[in-house]
Assembly symmetry: C2
């Protein structure tokens, strides 16, 4: 059987790394896609490079996107502070329309490369409450992919796969572990330092730490305070 070609969005966090491992385990030929979008945590992009290389994937596209020009998020605007206590509602770390933008560019790449699926590691269980991580959003974007592309109109359009969407963080970690993800390469923290060490206090750190504990998995996260 011929391998299916797919585009996998890889941020360098543990969710997208598990998602990549998932697509590889399914036997797909993977094109990894990451974005240099002016995120304050540049360590994330380094992590994406390491994870993709560790899986031996030859095609890794890194697209530059000036979302810091747009602003409106603590992840792209250094004047906004990343919250270190859980907040009600959608937090200031929400980046306006981020997953819509990422999926749009993945869709263009998938169409240009005749890939049949896009893998995105969004999760709507242990997450920060971002609207663009929910099943209804993915479903709506599928409609755009079906109607807004040549591939969709001519049949054989691009399918959006979000295999982690209904899993808990502990389940994702257990699954990633089974699939051979080296979590020490991944960075989740919203304000990791240049060396990829986590703050231990932001929402992403909290979800990650609790996930490793619940999965009873060794947590390899390096923290800024731990010498």
């Amino acid at each position: 059987m011929r391998k299916k070609k797919v585009v996998v969005l890889v941020s360098g966090g543990l969710d997208s790394s598990t998602c990549l491992a998932w697509a590889l385990a399914a036997g797909h030929e993977c094109i990894a896609l990451s974005f240099d979008y002016g995120q304050r945590h540049g360590a994330e992009l380094q992590a994406a490079r390491r994870v993709v290389a560790a899986f031996g994937i030859s095609e890794h596209r890194i697209m530059h996107l000036g979302l810091d020009q747009i602003g409106g998020s603590a992840l792209t605007d250094p004047d906004l502070v990343v919250p270190e206590v859980p907040v009600e509602g959608i937090p200031v770390t929400y980046v306006p329309a981020r997953n819509t933008i990422f999926l749009s560019l993945a869709l263009a790449l998938a169409e240009a490369k005749a890939a049949s699926e896009i893998y995105i590691g969004v999760n709507a269980v242990d997450y920060s409450g971002y609207p663009d991580c929910r099943p209804a959003f993915i479903q709506a974007f599928q409609g755009v992919a079906d109607l807004g592309t040549r591939a969709g109109v001519q049949g054989g359009g691009v399918i959006i796969q979000a295999p982690l969407i209904a899993m808990s963080k502990a389940e994702i970690i257990a699954q990633g572990d089974r699939l051979g993800v080296d979590f020490s390469l991944t960075v989740s923290c919203y304000q990791a330092d240049e060396a990829g060490r986590a703050c231990g206090r932001c929402d992403a750190c909290r979800l990650r730490r609790e996930g490793f504990a619940a999965a009873a998995c060794v947590d390899p996260t390096r923290y800024q305070s731990s010498g």
Copy 2:
């Protein structure tokens, strides 16, 4: 009454220029958004600058997007030839997922700037048959805007306005003329030269020329062959 703030996608062609005039005539405060996306017709972007300046709009964002890295279109890949006779189906000038990408970035900007509407000059009558210019596509993207943004979830989300979608090219030209668009500033040609002069042979040139004739409007287009 307070002015409504809106984002207007301005390519430099006559449709988007008419769309901008339309939003201004409606009394909106307009933020113009254009893309430097590796299009072979760089004259288009110069036209966008001229049109926006002619309307005295102070905020014009020009975002860089490396769609030429993605390829798959005669508009971004110099190795592909722009067809000069009408073709069946979706032509090679179709840029994969272009309007999805443009609307995604407009959505992010609208959300970050608390703008309530996005104007896009797509048209599904006298057009090149691109799937992402049709009403069903705009409707699908509205679903993404509603579900994938903070603004959409919290109420008062961003509305996608496509006022030209059901108009003929002649109707668009007549309307633009009434609204004060200086069509001599606009460039439609897929392979305009650096000075903005049109080839006169591509699909965009054909639609434009026929539109001016049907509207019985003076056609100010400058052609490469006309001294």
